[in-house]
């Protein structure tokens, strides 16, 4: 009996192996009109709650299925139309505050709103009149009112992100009761507020009251995905909130079958936890100038890969068209020798910095950390950083030097080149650094490292395992000034373990500053103490004043000038020392599609690429 069972098992395995060996190849790119995109993630979302989490591919997919009011162009500083067509700051009568050329008249805005009787800024938004949801229903300002209204009402939407995005909107609820109205449409109190909306414009005009800072509109315009009222209103109740932890079956159905206003719709039949298939909407309201669809790619299939090497080989072997993940510069040589491969070596927007713990809480102070409180000591460390060397060795040349003002050079309206005041020649820098340190910590041990109270000056730099090479090169560079540094693992939750608690010497941190985020990021990085990104707890009153002035000015030109003034102040603190800006390297195949566009700060699969790609005609 036992023998028989054994034989049966053996035979089943034998048959299984034979079956598996039958050479039936999987056709990896069967659809000619579909762009196959490899995405290296842990998982794909299978439910598409409109305000998805911000991790992984979820926000990308959400951004394709749903739309925000506007998109922001970092280069021009303009809000580009999406659902919204035009927007204005308006006066008390709802009249746009614009110059003769139609641009925002900031001088006039400042004049009208700078007095204390105005508690808010009023904004008028006109939306396109030809937008439909993917189920065919028209999109009107009622949907926009509904979206912002529910986002601010935590009785109906328990979505912390939405509450945060709308914190500058002066439309408030307390326990489900509206305490302040900040949204006005034809149907919702516009006339009573003094905003005269003509009946023919009732579906396309909405007014908002926002906090009196220029940055208020940014998250409202670009972060909040607009929801279809007719889909959500019938199911959302205080018992079944929009982001409920235990949604009803009906709500779950809506999560899994999204109705959006975006350029693509989800193929719910074919999508799974392993792939997400999107189809272009041919009735999308935005088109090219010639009336053809704005997006050239008809169908997109995002395929989940959980291992980067497998994804890279999948691309090389023609299983996918695009790899929507930035890859290490170490892979460049692998791609360069291949035909049919497009390499996007896009300038990055992310500045890698070395953060010094300049002001630890009293319980975490020690003699060596106290040295970091000395600005001259920090200056010596900044001088010892050789960005060229790091770019060459760590990034294999795929990067650029970062400004000490921590702003990208491409942001020409407010980049300040004067922030970089240190000498550029590295030998001179090291000499200068040693000169400074000789006055602070002149004693050295037999290995040439500087000593403090009989002990070698040695700091740990927190980093992830992938950042060990940067720290190793910093170790070499700082050896030239007699300072010892070593890698220390950041761990999974460095903020709560080390950074918020001041329990570190130095850490690596990536930063991105731009006009779209300085209102929030400058305070978070350089001003606010506590649980913020100001890990080293920098305190500088002049800097605080300047940041506040920048945040609260109502004149964009003044704001630009203040950002310019802040950059040398940041550089002069030697607190977040720039190391480099790495390029974003990504790859695509050109055997089926061409026309990939390289965009700063993005992988090859970006909005411009989707608009520009054309199929390669087979011979």
């Amino acid at each position: 009996m036992v023998k028989k069972i054994g034989l049966m098992l053996f035979m089943s395995i034998f048959v299984l192996v034979l079956t598996a060996c039958s050479n039936q190849k999987i056709e990896r790119r069967p659809d000619d009109n579909m762009l196959y995109v490899g995405s290296v993630q842990t998982s794909f979302p299978t439910a598409f709650m409109p305000w998805l989490s911000r991790s992984g591919i979820a926000p990308t997919i959400a951004g394709m299925l749903y739309n925000t009011l506007f998109s922001y162009d970092e280069e021009t500083g303009d809000f580009d139309p999406v659902i919204g067509k035009e927007w204005y700051y308006v006066d008390d009568d709802g009249e746009p505050i614009v110059t003769e050329e139609g641009a925002i008249d900031y001088d006039c805005l400042e004049e009208i709103y700078s007095d204390s009787s105005h508690e808010y800024l009023a904004v008028k938004i006109i939306i396109h009149d030809n937008i439909t949801w993917s189920d065919g229903e028209p999109l009107t300002v009622d949907d926009i009112y509904y979206t912002f209204d529910i986002a601010t009402n935590n009785l109906l939407s328990n979505h912390a992100g939405a509450l945060a995005w709308t914190s500058d909107l002066r439309h408030k609820y307390t326990n489900g009761v509206m305490t302040k109205q900040g949204l006005f449409t034809y149907e919702n109190g516009a006339l009573e507020q003094g905003y005269d909306i003509a009946e023919e414009d009732k579906d396309t005009v909405i007014y908002m009251h926002v906090n009196k800072v220029l940055g208020s509109v940014m998250p409202l315009f670009t972060s909040v995905l607009i929801l279809p009222e007719h889909i959500w209103e019938p199911v959302v109740t205080p018992e079944n909130q929009l982001n409920s932890a235990e949604p009803t079956e009906e709500t779950l159905y809506r999560y899994k079958n999204p109705v959006g206003s975006g350029q693509y719709v989800l193929d719910t039949q074919q999508s799974s936890s392993q792939q997400i298939i999107l189809h272009r909407r041919d009735d999308y309201h935005l088109t090219k100038e010639d009336g053809s669809p704005l997006y050239n790619v008809e169908r997109i299939n995002y395929i989940l890969y959980q291992e980067i090497n497998v994804a890279i080989y999948a691309l090389l072997k023609g299983h996918i068209d695009v790899l929507d993940t930035s890859v290490s510069s170490n892979y460049l040589r692998l791609f360069e020798k291949e035909d049919d491969i497009f390499i996007s070596n896009a300038p990055g927007t992310f500045i890698q910095t070395l953060v010094l713990n300049v002001n630890p809480v009293s319980s975490e102070r020690n003699a060596q950390r106290d040295l970091l409180r000395d600005k001259n000591f920090r200056k010596a460390i900044a001088l010892a950083v050789n960005q060229d060397d790091l770019i060459e060795n760590v990034l294999n040349g795929a990067g650029i030097k970062a400004s000490s003002g921590l702003m990208r050079k491409s942001l020409v309206d407010f980049f300040n080149p004067n922030a970089d005041s240190l000498p550029t020649d590295y030998e001179t820098r090291i000499d200068l650094a040693n000169e400074i340190l000789d006055t602070i910590v002149p004693n050295k041990d037999s290995d040439g490292y500087r000593m403090l109270d009989g002990e070698r000056i040695s700091y740990n730099i927190l980093g992830h395992p992938g950042e060990q090479d940067v720290i190793s090169y910093l170790e070499i560079q700082f050896e030239k000034i007699g300072i010892d540094v070593n890698y220390a693992a950041k761990g999974a939750q460095p903020e709560s373990t080390y950074l918020y608690t001041s329990r570190f010497d130095m850490t690596l941190q990536g930063v991105i500053f731009s006009i779209s985020n300085v209102d929030i990021m400058y305070p978070a990085h350089f001003q606010t103490l506590g649980r913020t990104s100001n890990y080293g707890r920098l305190e500088n009153e002049n800097l605080n004043d300047k940041i506040n002035e920048m945040r609260f000015t109502l004149n964009l030109n003044t704001k630009y000038n203040l950002i310019k003034e802040i950059q040398p102040m940041l550089a002069d603190e030697y607190y977040k020392i720039p190391l480099y800006t790495s390029n974003i390297i990504s790859v695509a195949r050109t055997d089926r599609f061409t026309g990939y566009v390289v965009v700063e700060g993005a992988t090859v699969l970006n909005d411009s690429t989707l608009q520009n790609l054309t199929k390669v005609e087979s011979e």
Partner: protein, 332 residues
Amino acid sequence: MKKSYVIKRILYSVFVFAVVITLNFFIPRIGVEDPAERYYPPQGNMSEIEYEIIKQATREQYGFDVSPWQQYLNYLEGLTHGDLGMSFRSGSPAVADLIIDRLPWTLVLSVSTMLIGLIIGIMFGVIAAMKRGRWQDTVLLNASTIMIALPSFFIALILSFYLGFEYEIFPAYTDPNMVSNFEWTFASLRNVAQNAALPVLSMAVGSIIGYAQGTRNAVIAVTNEDFILTAKAKGLKQNTIRYKHILRNSMLPIVTSLGMSISGLIGGQVVIEQIFNWNGMGTLFLEANNMNDYPLMMGIMLLLSGFTILAILVTDLIYVLLDPRVTVGDKR
């Protein structure tokens, strides 16, 4: 088998499981001041009052607004009717549903690997033991040394590269349509078998060597026992000695390692599943970990612990069947 022994073992297992449930709940929360903290959005320009409202909303959403003790009671209450809670991922799917979706696919890999490892491993082990000191034995010993040095993810990458990408004998990674298009048809089963081939092979190599070495050592040990000499002296047939006396008595260590590996069946192999894009429990656990999805992590850990306790219980009981002398804890 003594009834009292069985009851005692079962009660002991139930007790261990209760302890596991408690530890499973509290360990992730130890030392965490505010478990909801990781889910708070950035404060941005919000005032403290506004931010506190948002934090409270977050705590409510994730069920952290009540005391840990109350959370524990809620959790226990859910368990009594099979409710492992709702995942924190988008759409809040039930943890039990997520596990049920993934478990069969992990079982496809792990059961195939175990069967292949067991059958081929025992076969190799017996051959090596019978041919002790000859080339068959040398090959097995050397292979064991090499395989111990090679991690399974390395084997998986090599197999994926050569047998998958280069020579295209098997799919280099799982067809993304495999799960969504699965039906109980021959074509679909063949598709699963094809896609499972490389991951199974990657895991089976180590498994075969493990079982082979275990079997070899056990068989050699038993062969040197006095009762085998007695059997030979009695003039029993060679095959009777081999299969009835040597092999049966060599099975105890094999059963132990089998019992241990059964508990690993449902856990999946994180790295192997990752490399081959296999939609199993290993990757589910990784997702849960990366997303700080407490309920999902607890659900998986609970299942793994429960299965391990069950496997140990069954192993202990089988032990007694195989060797009546084994009555651990049973005072005579």
